[in-house]
Symmetry: C2
Subunit: 195 residues, 2 copies
């Protein structure tokens, strides 16, 4: 079965791909808005991992709505959740199985059982989240043995998904200060291949 | 890393083993009470799947407490949950990683994020539930392509885990009628090998 896995070049979506590759024909799918070329980092990581890659361009209106929400909230969570759900809906139109790298300990994005079943019923797909039964420690140990990664502050490690573009969008509309208010500095990782 | 996966010879724990085998040294572990020889069905299924197998005998007092609870409730859920958690605690003493076949759509047993983290902290293990991000449809489709199964009413398909023994215990103490009251008739499956 054809599985479209939402892919950011981060360790969660990369490890998810390894968990699913024996069971599905996995294509790594990166959703972006076409504002920047950062999605190409995801394409490079997908190639290094040995998976087929597709990028999908979401409507810019989704980015506007999400960034306005983030700016009002002062937190990225609700906006990220909105974009993630839109990306899943878009991928669901094209594959038998859709997947993402959400983990047991994630605060955002999270796909509840109700949202998962709604996606499955409306699009006649299976939604699978292979890491949702794995905690942070288990994931870190599997990443260490199976993937090579670069890590650093979120400004220097540009991943391939929409987060980089959302930061850019906020910077353009409300200035640099808004970016650091909405997105607290955190360590990012980008996957560069398999061990 | 050494992973002890709770195994009943059913399709969920069998599929979990296949999902984990590329990542851990998986041993299938069947918990029972030593009342009957049904655990040997699990040993046979483990051999057919090609995994190392261990059986562990839980204290009979756990079965007494669980069956009293089930008989009082008129439902098996709380008692099953109690036995499952006891089995996980026991396995946690012996392995780096403990696992089970709980699914996204399961009502029982379910291991909440809080219980999972408590297990991990107290025993210094990772707890992983590889099917907790898979719904019923996805699991059925993967079972169909990867496993051979026998199915039938729960009386004729004897699986290898503690459920058969708990039914037997209830039958001995309160009679056949109590068994059918506590355990509604349902379709059981026993895995016989890989496709």
């Amino acid at each position: 079965m054809e599985c479209g896995l939402l892919f950011s070049a981060g360790k969660d979506s990369s490890l998810s791909a390894l968990l699913l590759e024996e069971f599905y024909d996995v294509t790594l799918v990166t959703a972006h808005f076409g504002f920047t070329d950062d999605w190409k980092h995801a394409r490079d990581a997908a190639e290094a991992l040995g998976f087929p890659f597709v990028d999908i361009e979401l409507d810019g209106a989704v980015a506007d709505e999400a960034t306005e929400r983030m700016y009002e909230d002062g937190f990225p969570r609700a906006g990220i959740q909105q974009v993630h759900e839109t990306a899943l809906e878009t991928v669901a139109a094209e594959y038998d199985v859709i997947a993402d790298g959400t983990r047991r300990d994630d605060r955002v994005p999270t796909i509840s059982r109700a949202v998962a079943q709604s996606l499955e019923d409306r699009h006649d797909v299976d939604y699978v989240a292979p890491l949702s039964g794995f905690g942070r420690g288990a994931i870190d140990r599997l990443v260490e043995t199976h993937l090579t990664v670069e890590s650093g502050p979120s400004e220097t490690i540009q991943k391939g998904d929409y987060e980089t573009e959302l930061r850019e969008r906020i910077r353009n509309r409300w200035g640099e200060k808004a970016v650091t208010e909405v997105f607290p500095e955190h360590e990012q990782t980008r996957v560069t291949g398999r061990t």
